[in-house]
Structure formats: C-alpha cells, structure tokens
C-alpha cells in the first residue's frame, strides 16, 4: 500500500508516523493515560471499580484515548536466570501482561470511509482525525471500527478518539503519551523506522526464548492494510481485548452495493408482478 496521505491527495506529504507499543516493557504506570488526558483536555468519564486487575479504565472510548490493560496469568513461567536454556523447573508464577492500547490509525480506516460528513479525515502525517466542528454525531464510525476505538461522548453527542496529537505533530513535537512513557514502551516515529525497530526487538525476544512474542498490526498485508499504531504482544491479541484478524468492513462494500442493486431491482420486479398477475387474471 502506498502512503495513505499521498493516496488521499496530499502533495509530497511528510513521512507517515505512528506508534510502536512494545508491551514487553510496559510497567502499567498509566503515565500515557494521564498525559493524554491532560494534553488533550479529555474530560473525566467516571471511575468505577471493575475488579479487572488494576484496570478501572476498562477500554478505549470517547474519553479514553490511551488504555492500559492489565492481565494476570497464573501459568508456569521460566524467566531471568533460566535464560541459559536449562529451564524446565518452572514455578507456578504470576505473569503480568500490561499493554497500552490506542487508536490504530489504520491504512484502510473504516471510520473514515463511512463518515458521511467528512468530519473524519486523513492528515498529512497519514493519521486519522475527527474535526469536532463538523461531526454531527451520526454514530456511523462507532460500529464501523473493528477495534472498538472511537465512541460518542454522551453529553456532547459527537464522536471522539485519539488524534495522535495532531497539534503536537504540527509543531514537531512527540505525542503526549509517547513523551510521558518512562520505559519507552510507547515509541513514536516514522512508521518505516518503527517497523525496523519492532522486527529487531522481536528477533531479540525470540532469541531469548520468548516464543510467544509476536507483532500485531505491523503487516501491510493484513485486513486493514496495516496499522499506523502497532504492537508487540506476548499472548494472543484477544487476551488484550484486540480482534485477532480485523478486516476493514468497506473491503466488502462493492459486493454489498451489487447485492443491494439486485435486491432493489427485485423489489421493482415484485411490484410489477403484483400488478401484472391481476391484469392477466382480468383478461382470462
């Protein structure tokens, strides 16, 4: 896939940027959540006790643009000193997975495709942003997103999501979440560079025996044409609440229109038949 900014009509756009979120070094500090809320003035959306480990943020939505997932797994883990390959006597240890989720800024973005007003648009950086002065709150983008990112702000009516700090990008700054991340779990940069970095990190982890490490959303051949924000995960995507094989819904749209066209013609034919049988009946 060509650069989505160029495909959207930008002449000579800057390099496409994004996030590489390496969850293997996430410590669950939620600095990204806080930095995002502060910089973007995202309103409070209540605090409930969920019992979901240390996650009361629950998931991405209109007022949560970074979400840190906490997963506690009781399973045999061989770590640290066992790296020499002599592992085997594993403790029944606690494995704690933490991951900071964010809008994926898809190459083929369903939210952008289905937006009827043009409120959602592709920026020159290849990211996807909502213009709040245009959005009329039709809500179509919300069920269109295969990741459950964008949502409606209840008292406001409009749809909101991560902008990848469009304002900061314009000023040559790093997005707030990446800047605040103390372990560099969230890495920001040109997408090509991030993909190289991610591939090297994956090799390193595989070399050290972390067979379950895998990249998620980095493949331009996947159902959304690759994500502008991709991840290194240590378990299956659905464990983190991510869809295992997302596909942009509009990929099937040409076929949908064809089927609807045939159906509309069928309705016309049915109506013609409804009158024709009476004509024939009368003649007989």
């Amino acid at each position: 896939m060509a650069d989505p900014a160029a495909a959207s009509g930008y002449h000579d756009p800057p390099p496409r940027v994004g996030f590489f979120t390496d969850t293997s070094v996430c410590i669950g500090c939620k600095a990204c959540e806080v930095a995002c809320k502060e910089w973007n003035a995202v309103p409070d959306d209540g605090l409930v006790f969920t019992g979901m480990s240390y996650d009361n943020t629950i998931g991405l939505g209109a007022d949560t643009w970074r979400h840190v997932a906490f997963i506690e797994q009781r399973r045999p883990v061989a770590a640290g000193a066992d790296q020499d390959g002599k592992a085997g006597e594993a403790e029944d240890g606690l494995r704690w997975l933490m991951a900071s989720d964010v809008c994926k800024h898809c190459t083929h973005a369903a939210c952008l495709d289905v937006c009827p007003t043009g409120a959602l648009f592709r920026t020159e950086f290849g990211t996807v942003v909502v213009q709040e002065d245009v959005c009329n709150g039709c809500g179509y983008c919300i069920p269109a997103c295969p990741y459950g990112v964008i949502d409606q702000r209840k008292d406001d009516g409009r749809a909101w999501k991560c902008t990848l700090c469009y304002d900061r990008l314009g000023a040559g700054m790093t997005p707030a979440c990446a800047q605040a991340c103390p372990t560099e779990s969230i890495q920001f940069g040109p997408l090509d560079e991030l993909r190289e970095r991610a591939a090297a990190r994956l090799d390193q982890l595989h070399g050290e025996g972390t067979a379950a490490a895998r990249l998620y959303g980095e493949d331009p051949g996947d159902g959304v044409g690759g994500d502008g924000a991709f991840f290194l995960l240590l378990d299956e995507p659905e464990v983190y609440g991510l869809p295992p094989d997302p596909v942009v819904t509009t990929r099937d749209l040409p076929s949908m229109w064809r089927h609807a066209g045939v159906a509309a013609a069928g309705l016309m034919a049915a109506a013609a038949t409804a009158f024709a049988v009476e004509l024939l009946g009368r003649r007989r």
């Binding site: 495709d113 464990v239 066209g261 013609a265």
Partner: protein, 340 residues
C-alpha cells in the same frame, strides 16, 4: 522467580531486575499444536469485555427508520402502479402512506443524531464509501418527489407533475428500501456484517410486506389485489432471504434466535403467517383484509427490530468477534467465505 509476594514476614521471592526479560513459558499448554477440526468451545477475551464498541443508534429511531423507509419505498411502487392501472383509491393510500412514512423516518434520523442541528452536514459531501452519505442524497431526492406525488394525488391538482413525481419516487423507492441493508452490513458488527449478501433482500422483502400491508389496511376491497400480491411476495422473499442469511452466518446467527431479537423474530413469524393467511382468505372481506394488513405491517416492523437487536447482542459479546476471526486467521475449514 517471576513472582514476588509481600507477606507478613516481608518480601518473599525475588523481583526481576531492571533488565528483566518477559520470560518464556516453560510448558505450553496451549492449543497450538492441535488440529482444531471444530471451532474451539472456549475462547479468550479481556475480562469478557466486547472487542468492538456497540452502536449508539437507539430504538425506536433506527429500527423505526428502517421500517418506515421500507414502507415508503414499497408504497411508492404501489402508488405508481395503482395510478398506471386505474386504481385511484389505492394510489392515494399508497402515496399518502409513503409521504407519512418518509417524513417520520427523516424525523427519526435527525432525532438520533448526537447533534441534530447539524443534520444538513449530511449533504456536505458525497461519498460512495459511506452508505449513510449515499442514503442521505437518495432521501434528499426521494422525499420531495414523494411529497409532490402525494400532494397531487390527494388534491387532484398538477396531475402531470404528479405523474412525473410518482415515477421518480417509484424509481428511487426500491433504492431507499434496499440501501439500508448496506447501511447496517457496512460495520464491524458481526451479526450485521456477516449477512451482507442477504440483508438487502431481507430488507426489500420486509418493505414489500409493509407496503402491501398498508394497502390492505387502507385501500378499498375492489382495488387492493396488487397490495395483497406484493405482500405475499414480500413475506416469501423475506423468509427465504432470512433463512439463507442465518444459515450462512454460522455461529454469528445465534443472536438472531435468542434474547430480544429471538422474541421479535418469533412475533414477526406469527404475524406474517397470520397476515398472509388473512390476505388470501379474506379476499372479499374488507375487515379481514384490514386486519391482515395490520398484521403484515407488524411483521415487517418485527423483522427490523429483530435485526437491530441481533446486531447489538453480537457486538456486546466478544465471542462473535473473536471466534470467527480466529477460524479465519488459523485457516479453519469453517471460515466464512470472503467477498469477491
């Protein structure tokens, strides 16, 4: 090694150092190596939370819009046909019904917006990738035609303009009835998207049922025969398309048969069977025709509410997102056919 617990005696176990690696699993108990011939009964999710965000569309606005849009589209066909074949009472009924239905449906659409005052932003651009944009432009052309056709039929004035408007409404009407199938299918909602091939046929069937039902309810017995025929064709098409759709969907069809959606579906089946039987039996009886017409209208509405609630239920349960995607990704034989 990997666990450190704070106890009354202090820290037990050791914390990994700063250079900690995430560690490797000592034994894999996963299903990796096994050949899954049937969909896994278990699936993992993040605390059972849904993967996708649920549609914020509300009932009765949106299922009501589907119903009324279908009723209007089908009625425009019935109205134009009635005019062409010399059934003025049926024509008046159908055209007035179309106008009432499309007016109400536009109100429902505007009411459901988060920012109703920005309704006209729908016409800010035209995007073929957005079924809602296509639908907005369709309605912008269709609704005025319906208005002129109805006004002319009811007042008897400007008959020529009325005939042109009737013809235009009859051309656009089927598109209005069918596009809503695309509107719903073009989402990540499993019970809507997986039915994208059949959904427009379910919806035009439901539209024919509703329009025929209105004709039976309101037109005199001497002129309602085409309405009855259209309703019967609609009931048959809707049932067949629905059956095909849910069969092809596999496990994603579950929400259609359970819970709220299942109740609406059941009600719709009873109503459409009763309405179809009444329409056939009560050919000459005005009261029976009217009753069966009302039942058919109810059946059409029940289908729309069933589809609406099935979508919400499939969005709320991560199972319907995760399991089919796992099957597709892992190349299981049961993967749903991809679009061409």
């Amino acid at each position: 090694m990997s666990a450190a617990d704070v106890t009354r005696q202090g820290l037990r176990g050791t914390r990994p150092g700063r250079e900690a690696r995430p560690g490797r699993e000592a034994r894999r108990r996963g299903r990796r190596g096994e050949q899954a011939m049937v969909p896994p009964a278990e699936f993992t999710s993040y605390y059972g939370r849904p993967v996708i965000n649920s549609p914020v569309w509300r009932s009765p606005d949106i299922p009501g819009y589907l119903f009324l849009g279908g009723l209007a589209g089908g009625s425009s066909l019935l109205g134009a046909g009635a005019q062409a074949t010399g059934r003025p009472a049926l024509a008046r009924t159908a055209k007035a019904g179309a106008l009432g239905a499309i007016s109400l449906s536009l109100a429902a659409l505007a009411h459901d917006l988060g920012r109703p005052a920005r309704f006209l932003n729908m016409l800010r651009m035209f995007k073929v990738t957005s079924p809602m944009s296509v639908g907005s432009w369709l309605l912008a052309g269709y609704a005025p035609a319906v208005g002129v056709a109805a006004a002319s039929a009811l007042t008897g004035r400007v008959p020529r303009l009325g005939a042109v408007a009737s013809a235009a409404a009859a051309l656009a009407g089927p598109a209005v009835a069918a596009y809503t199938g695309v509107l719903f299918s073009d989402t990540a909602v499993p019970a809507w998207h997986e039915g994208f091939r059949e959904m427009p046929f379910v919806f035009v069937g439901s539209a024919a049922t509703a329009a025929g039902g209105l004709g039976l309810l309101a037109a005199p017995a001497g002129q309602n025969a085409p309405a009855r025929n259209l309703a019967l064709l609609g009931v048959a098409a809707e049932a067949a398309a629905f059956e095909l759709m849910t069969r092809r969907m596999g496990m994603v069809a579950e929400p259609y048969t359970t819970g709220r959606s299942g109740a609406y579906l059941q009600a719709g089946r009873v109503l459409s069977a009763a309405g179809a039987a009444g329409a056939v039996i009560g050919r000459r009886n005005r009261a029976v025709a009217a009753l069966s017409g009302a039942a058919l209208l109810g059946a059409s509405a029940a289908t729309r509410w069933a589809v609406f609630h099935a979508g919400l239920a499939s969005a709320a349960d991560p199972k319907y997102t995760v399991v089919p995607q796992r099957q597709r990704r892992d190349g299981g034989g049961a993967a749903p056919a991809r679009a061409n």
